[in-house]
């Protein structure tokens, strides 16, 4: 199922076994006892904060960071999440990964990938992979916010997508989202994005992107 050798593959737990076997013990640990969540916003001085929402299932994540100005390391990270067990566990795990061992530098934190979080969680069910994507997005938004506040706008990295459907202005990111939300076929992606209905000439490219993202997040079929 998942080949351990070669490039890092996400460890995917069987999605359909339901019940308590659905999530790994690490996920459950972080879900039932979340670490570093924001308890008292009013008393917290954040150097940067970010918030993202998933258009997929409507989940929202918010991240606050405190940064050491000299070393540019993240000293503290607090979060709040509206989402399922995977989303809660993934943000909780991310908060640990970012702040452990003296804290990540901003650049290290920016390079954190959802796959890294998923791995530390001992895998997530296939249809829950997308929940792990929100956390690091919120984190990157908080890092941008920090740079903006410091006046270092050259370091702000906006993630703009490449436009695929020129009529409906649908980007490769929209297609990535759709795949993360469980779309498998062109029909599924169209149901979510309507891509190609305005500009049918982009359909072959859309199909290619679907294959690419399926492969990236869920491994070869």
């Amino acid at each position: 199922m998942n080949n351990k050798k070669g490039q890092k593959k996400i460890d995917i737990a069987p999605a359909k076994n339901g019940g308590s076997g659905f999530y790994s013990d690490v996920v459950k640990e972080h879900f039932f006892k979340p670490k570093n969540f924001m308890e008292d916003e009013s008393g917290y001085k954040a150097d940067g904060q970010g918030m993202v929402g998933s258009p997929a299932c409507g989940d929202v994540m918010r991240v606050w960071i405190q940064v050491d100005d000299k070393s540019r390391r993240i000293k503290d990270l607090k979060w709040k999440t509206f989402g399922c067990a995977s989303a809660i566990a993934a943000t909780s795990m991310m908060s640990e990964m970012v702040t452990e061992k003296g804290g990540m530098t901003l650049e290290e934190a920016r390079a954190l990938r959802p796959q890294d979080i998923t791995e530390r969680l001992h895998g997530l069910p296939v249809r829950k992979i997308h929940c792990s994507v929100l956390g690091d997005k919120a984190l990157r938004a908080a890092i941008n916010d920090y740079y903006r506040k410091q006046g270092e706008t050259d370091k702000v990295e906006v993630e703009a997508g490449r436009v695929i459907d020129k009529v409906l202005k649908i980007t490769d990111q929209d297609i990535e989202e759709a795949v993360l939300d469980g779309a498998v076929t062109l029909e599924d992606v169209q149901r979510k994005t309507k891509v190609g209905t305005g500009d049918p000439s982009c359909i072959p490219e859309v199909e290619q992107l679907i294959r690419f993202y399926r492969e990236k997040y869920f491994g070869a079929e």
Binding site: S20, F31, F32, P34, F37, M38, E39, M51, A56, C57, G58, D59, V60, M61, R62, K80, T81, F82, G83, C84, A85, A87, I88, R127, H130, C131, D181, G182, E187
Partner: protein, 418 residues
């Protein structure tokens, strides 16, 4: 010191199954009725020898018994593999069969029209959406009122000259609301008479209703009715489609021609015997059980609505006696469900996160409610084993769980948006 917090943690853990709308345990009497057909009476009902004929008799007995309960004819029973197959057969079978007739009447571009509600089970909606996507039907989905009940008048008004099928569930699986099937049925009959047409046919999915409501097809005025075993303390993997005599319907499964050619495949003899027994028990007890369980339902609703920012989904009165569906604002249902699971309470949610498609409950959304309300919706469905103690346990532990999840949620919506 927070007294409530301490109270919750001191409550003794209980195992409470509140997901009877998902499925029920099998009644011991049903298991007993099924047993002989696994080993001692194992024949194939199509075989003419003695073991085969014994099995054949068991299937005939089941057919007789169910026909009696539905006030229908024996030759109107079609056994199949469950509610989903039964719904699919009703829809695909009648729609396909109607095409030729429609073309004859309205020319070669005529497309059959189907009327359904926006709150049907996926076993009804999905085949219909597929047909619509392929351009094989025209589809009208009737929105229910904010109380989750479809108005018979709205359904009737949607009927056109090319309408071949109306399919509306007897009771909703998520919010338990009971639909005015008899009333719709009467209007359809009148329409057919006035127009001298055999169409539209009227189908109802009665899977959730079978334990609590009257299934008399003459009173409901339906042509097709779906039942299954797994919701009425019977076996899973067995279902039934009542098909009124003379209904034009074509099979979806071809083979040996069982079930009057409408559903080929060797009969699931133990399953069929089990379904008949389960339905018999359920229908005999339904009035008394409805009364008992409705009291518990109301107690649970009252207890849960004491939690801040909560609301009941679906009509408070016109709903199945075992259904509770409550939304808690600012929290996500799957997380809540898993916290409940850890405390021994088993229920389900309409949250997008818990669905395979990542879409929030189409039923809650059809009530005109927000995504957030669907997200925080919890369905608790009671059953035969449910006691007052179970209900009180849930009412005691729920506030703590909701509070905990609200603590880690960045969302805090206005009740007005709810």
């Amino acid at each position: 010191m927070k007294v409530t917090k301490r109270q919750t943690s001191n409550v003794k853990r209980q195992e409470v199954y509140l997901d009877h709308a998902a499925t029920t345990p099998v009644d011991g009497r049903v298991i007993k009725a099924m047993m002989p057909f696994f080993d001692t009476c194992y024949g194939n009902p199509s075989s003419l020898h003695a073991p085969g004929q014994k099995a054949h008799k068991a299937v005939t007995d089941a057919r007789n018994s169910i026909a009696g309960l539905l006030n229908a004819h024996v030759d109107e029973m079609v056994f199949c593999s469950g509610g989903t197959e039964s719904d699919n057969l009703a829809i695909l079978g009648t729609v396909n069969m109607s095409k030729a007739e429609l073309k004859r009447m309205y020319g070669k571009n005529a497309v059959p029209h189907v009327v359904t509600s926006a709150i049907e089970h996926p076993a009804v909606l999905e085949p219909l959406l597929k047909l619509e996507y392929r351009g094989e039907i025209e589809l009208t989905q009737i929105k229910p009122g904010a109380n989750g009940v479809v108005a018979a008048e709205d359904v009737f008004k949607a009927i056109k000259s090319n309408t071949v099928l109306v399919t509306i569930m007897l009771a909703n699986n998520e919010i338990g609301t009971i639909q005015p099937i008899a009333e719709i049925g009467k209007l359809i009959l009148k329409h057919r008479k006035v127009n001298g047409s055999i169409y539209p046919y009227f189908h109802t999915d009665a899977c959730q209703a079978a334990g609590y409501l009257d299934l008399n097809v003459e009173k409901l005025h339906v042509d097709l009715l779906t039942l299954n075993g797994g919701k009425i303390y019977g076996p899973k993997g067995v279902g039934l489609l009542f098909v009124r005599r003379k209904t034009r319907i074509e099979p979806q499964v071809y083979g040996g021609g069982q079930e009057r050619r409408l559903r080929s495949g060797t009969e699931n003899v133990p399953g069929i015997a089990g379904l008949a027994t389960a339905l018999d028990i359920a229908q005999a007890k339904r009035e008394k059980e409805s009364e008992r369980i409705a009291k518990l339902r109301d107690r649970l609703i009252k207890g849960l609505l004491k939690i801040e920012k909560s609301r009941l989904n679906g009509d408070a009165k016109n709903r199945l006696p075992n259904n509770v569906n409550v939304s808690f604002m600012d929290i996500e249902g799957e997380a809540a469900m898993l916290y409940l699971d850890a405390k021994g309470v088993y229920c389900s949610t309409g949250s997008a996160c818990a669905s395979t498609s990542l879409d929030p409950s189409h039923v809650i959304l059809a009530l005109g409610m927000s995504y957030e309300a669907a997200h925080g919706s919890m369905r608790l469905t009671l059953g035969k084993s449910t006691t007052k103690k179970d209900v009180d346990y849930v009412v005691t532990i729920m506030p703590g769980i909701v509070r905990r999840l609200r603590e880690i949620s960045p969302v805090s919506l206005d009740m007005k948006q709810f």
